[in-house]
Symmetry: D2
Subunit: 284 residues, 4 copies
C-alpha cells in the first residue's frame, strides 16, 4: 500500500456529491480506506473526509484532476499526504502539563508532528519538562505596553517556521484581535472549563464558588471573541463538595491535557472541519 492521501472538503449540499467524488477516485485507481461524510440538513451543507490509497497513480495528477470537480461544486478542500508531519508551534506560560504531555506524545510517535518551536512569556527555567532538548525555545516576555511588539515577533516566528498549527498549551495571554484573525483556523486553545460555563479567568475557582458537581476542559479554535471559538473537543469529571479549588486544578490538569492532545491529533489528521461557529469532527 502506498501512503494514503486525505481529502477533506465542504460545500453546499446537493445530490450526487459522494458519487462524483468517489467516482473520480475510483476512476483514478485509488482505493478508499476510510471515508466519512456529514449532511448538515439544517444548514444545507455537506462535509466529507476520505483517506485513500492512490495506488500507482501520481499524487499530483490526482490533485490536479480534482480541481475542476471542486470548482464545479464550490468546495473548500485540501488533499494531503497522511504521513506528512505537520509543523506545529507550541506556546506555554507557567503551567506546562499540557506542553509536557504533547512533547511526550510526539516523542513516542503517538501524535505525528514536527515541533518547530516552543514559545513562552516566561523563561525556559519555568518549564519543568526535559523533553525540550533540540527544540528551539523562544522567550517572548510580554507587558501591556510591549504586547504589539511581542505579537509581531510571534508572527514573524510563525512565518519563519512556516508553522501550520499554533497550540496554546495553557498560554495565559489573550491574543489581540489582529493576531486571532491572522491565526484563524490554525490556532487551538485549551480552556480549563466546560464551556460555555466559566469563561475568563480562574475557571476552577468559579466552578468551586458555583458548587458544580463536574468540572471539565474545552479545546477550541481561537477567535477574536474570547472563549467563544468553535469547540473541537470537551471532557469532564465528577467532583464532590470536598474538592477545594486546588483539588479541581489537580483533577483538571488530567482533563486539560487529554482534551488538548485529542484536539491536536484530530486537527492534524484533518478530521476537523469548520461549520460556521461549530465544527464537524470525523473521529474515525
Amino acid at each position: 500500500m502506498s501512503q494514503p492521501l486525505i481529502l477533506a472538503l465542504s460545500c453546499a449540499d446537493r445530490p450526487g456529491i459522494v458519487a462524483r467524488v468517489t467516482g473520480y477516485l475510483a476512476q483514478c485507481g485509488c482505493n478508499i480506506v476510510e471515508a466519512q461524510q456529514f449532511d448538515d440538513l439544517l444548514e444545507n451543507k455537506f462535509f466529507m473526509r476520505v483517506a485513500f490509497d492512490p495506488g500507482t497513480t501520481d499524487r499530483e495528477e490526482i490533485r490536479e484532476g480534482f480541481g475542476p470537480i471542486a470548482l464545479e461544486y464550490g468546495m473548500a478542500w485540501t488533499m494531503q499526504r497522511r504521513d506528512r508531519a505537520r509543523r506545529v508551534l507550541l506556546m506555554v506560560s507557567k503551567f506546562d502539563h499540557c506542553l509536557a504531555d504533547l512533547l511526550y506524545r510526539q516523542r513516542i510517535g503517538e501524535i505525528n508532528m514536527d515541533i518547530v518551536g516552543v514559545v513562552s512569556n516566561h523563561p525556559r527555567e519555568a518549564v519543568t519538562t526535559h523533553l525540550l532538548d533540540g527544540i528551539p525555545f523562544h522567550h517572548l516576555p510580554i507587558t501591556k505596553e510591549t504586547k504589539p511588539e511581542q505579537e509581531a515577533k510571534l508572527r514573524a516566528l510563525v512565518e519563519e517556521t512556516r508553522a501550520e498549527l499554533v497550540v496554546l498549551a495553557r498560554y495565559m495571554q489573550v491574543l489581540s484581535d489582529d493576531m486571532t484573525r491572522y491565526l484563524s483556523g490554525r490556532c487551538i486553545n485549551i480552556h480549563h472549563s466546560f464551556l460555555p460555563g466559566f469563561k475568563g479567568a480562574k475557571p476552577y475557582h468559579q466552578a468551586h464558588a458555583r458548587g458544580v458537581k463536574m468540572i471539565g476542559a474545552t479545546a477550541h479554535y481561537v477567535t477574536a471573541d474570547l472563549d467563544e471559538g468553535p469547540i473541537i473537543h470537551q471532557d469532564v469529571e465528577a467532583v464532590t463538595h470536598a474538592a477545594t479549588p486546588e483539588d479541581m486544578v489537580r483533577k483538571g490538569r488530567d482533563i486539560e491535557r487529554r482534551v488538548l492532545a485529542e484536539a491536536v491529533r484530530l486537527h492534524l489528521e484533518e478530521r476537523v472541519l469548520l461549520n460556521g461557529g461549530r465544527t464537524v469532527v470525523f473521529k474515525g
Copy 2:
C-alpha cells in the same frame, strides 16, 4: 436491628464535634451503621450525617437528649427514621419522562416516598404514563393573569398534603419569588443543561447553536434566582456534530430522568445539606 435513625447536622466547625456526637450516641447504646462528615476548611463549617441503630433506647428520648448538644454547638439538625416514606408532590407540564420515571421507581420500591399528588398546568390526558392510578391529579392551568391564584392553589395543596418535598419534574413554569421563598430548601428542579451553561429556555437548542460536544442536566434546589439554586447532581453525555437539537432532546431525556431521580433519592435519604449557595452531598 431496629429501624435506623438518621441524624443530619451542620454548624460552625470547632474541635471535638465528632467526639461529642458519637460519644452521645454510644452512651445511648446506639450503634452507628453509616457516618460521613465534611469539614469545610474554607468556610469553617462542619457537616455530618449519621445513620444509627437506636438499639433498645427510645427514639424520642435520644432526640430529646440531643437537643442540648445541638444548642451548645449551634447546630441546624434533623433526626428522622430512615424508613419513613416522605410525602412528595410531583409537578409536570407536557413532557412526562421524569414523572413516569419517578413513579416507576417509587412503584418498585427504589425510591421510598409517598406521592401525595401530581400537579400539572396541563390536563391529565397530556400525561402518557399509566402509573398515576390512585394518585390524586391536580390540573392547575396557568396564564400570566392567573399566576397568583394558581400559586395560591398550589400553596394550599402543599399545606393540605403536608408535602415535604416538591419536585419540578419538567414543570415548565417559572415560580414567583414568593413561591420559591415559601418552598426554599424543599423544592427540586431539573434543568436540561449542564449549568451554568445554557440557562433559561430551550437549552438543547442553545447547546446545538454553540456546538458543544457534551450535553447534560442539572438537578438543583429552586431559588428566586432562576437556574442559580444550589446544585445537587449533574451528569453529561457526549454528542457529535451529527446530533440535531431533536437528537439532543432525546439523549437529554435519559440524562434528565436519572439526574433528577438521583437528586430526589439523595434528598429523601437526608444526604444533601445546604452550604450557602452550594450543597454537601453524602453519597454513601
Copy 3:
C-alpha cells in the same frame, strides 16, 4: 422530502464499491441524507449504511435495480423504509424495568416499533408497569421438563406475529441451542455485567465479591454460546466499596435499561451490521 430508504450492506472489500453504490443512487435521482462506511482492513471486509431520499423514483424499482450490483459484489444487503415500524416481541421475567422502559420509549415515539406482544414465564400480575394496555400478553411458564414445549410455543408466536426482533428484556431463562439458532441475528439480550467479566448468574454479586470499582451492562445478540454473542452496546458506572450487591442491582437497573434501549434503537434503525463475532455500529 419522501420518506427515506435505508440501504445496509456488507461484502468483501475491493476498490470502487462506494462509487458504484452512490453512483447508482445518483443515477436513480436519489439524494443521500446520511451515509457511513467502514473498511475492516484486518478482515478485508466492507460495511455501509446509506439513508437516502428516493425522490420521485419508485422504491421497488430502486430495489430491483440494486440487485445485480449486490450480486456482482457478493453483498449481504437490506433496503427498507426508514419510517416503517418493525414488529418486536418483548420477553421478560420478574424484573420489568427494561420492559417498562421500552414500552415508555415506544409510547412517546422515541423508539419506532410495533410491539406485537409481551412474553413472560411469569403471570401478568408480576409485571409492575401499566403500559401493557392493548398489547397481547403471553404467559409461557417453563420448567426443565416443559422447556421444549414452551420454546415451541414461543416459536409459533414469533411466526404468527411475524416478529422481526425478539428482545430479552431481563428474560432470565437460557434459550436452547435450537432456539438461538432460529433467532440468530434477530434476538437481543441484556446481560447485567460488563462482559466478558461476570458471565452467568448473579453478576452483581460476582462483581461485589471481586471488588470491582465499576459495574456495567452489555446488550448483545443471542448465540448458542451463552453471554458470548456479538456485543452491540455497553456502558458502566463507578461504584465504591460502600456499595452492597443490592446497591449495585439498583444502580445497574439504570445502566441496563439505557444500554438495552440504545441497542434496540440502533438495531431497528439498521445501524448494526454483523462482522463475524463482532458488530459494526453506525451511530449517526
Copy 4:
C-alpha cells in the same frame, strides 16, 4: 496549623468505636480535618481514616496513647505524618508512559513521593523520558534462568532503599510467588484491561477480538494469583468497531496512566485499606 497526622485503622465492628477514637483525639487537643469511616455490615468489619491537626500535643505521645485503644479493639492501624514523602521504587519495561507520567506528577508536586529508584529489565536507553535525571536507574535484565537471581537483586534493592511502595508501571514480567508475598500490600500493578475481563497477555488484542465497546485499565495490589489482586481503581473509555488493536493501545495509554497515578496517590495518602480480597478506598 501543624502538619496533620493520618490515622488509618480497621477492626471487627462493634458499637462505640468512632466515639472512642474521636474522643481520644479530642482529649489530646487534636482537631479533625477529615474523617471517613465504613462499616462493612456484610463482613462485620470497620474501617476508618482520620486526618487531624495534633495542635500543640507531641505526635509521639498521641501515637503511644493510642496503642492501648488499638489493642482493646484489635485494630490494624498506622499513624503517620501526612506531609512525609513516602519512598517509592518504580519498575518499567519498554513502554514508559506510566513511568513518565508518575515522574512528571512527582516533579510538579502533584504526588508527594521520594522516588528512590527506577528498575527496568531493559537498559536505560529504552526509556524515552528525560525526567530520570538524578534518580538511580537499575538495569536488572531477566531470563527464565536468571529470574531467581534478578528477584534477589530486586529484593536487596527494596531493602537497601527502604522502599515503602513498589509500582509496576507497565513492568511486563510476572513476579514469583515468593516475591509477591514479600511485597504483599505494598506493590501496585497496572493491568491494561478492565478486570476481570481480559486477564493475561495482550489484553487490547483480546478486547478487539471479542468486540467490546469499551476498554479500560485496572490498578491493583499484586498477589500470587495473577491479575486477581485487590482492585484499587479502574476506568474505561468507549471504543467503536473502527478501533484497531493499535488504536486501543493508544487510547489505553491515557487510561492506564491516569488510573495508575490515581491508585498511587490514594495509596500514598493512606486512603486505601485492605478488606480481604477487596479494598476500601476513602477518596476524600
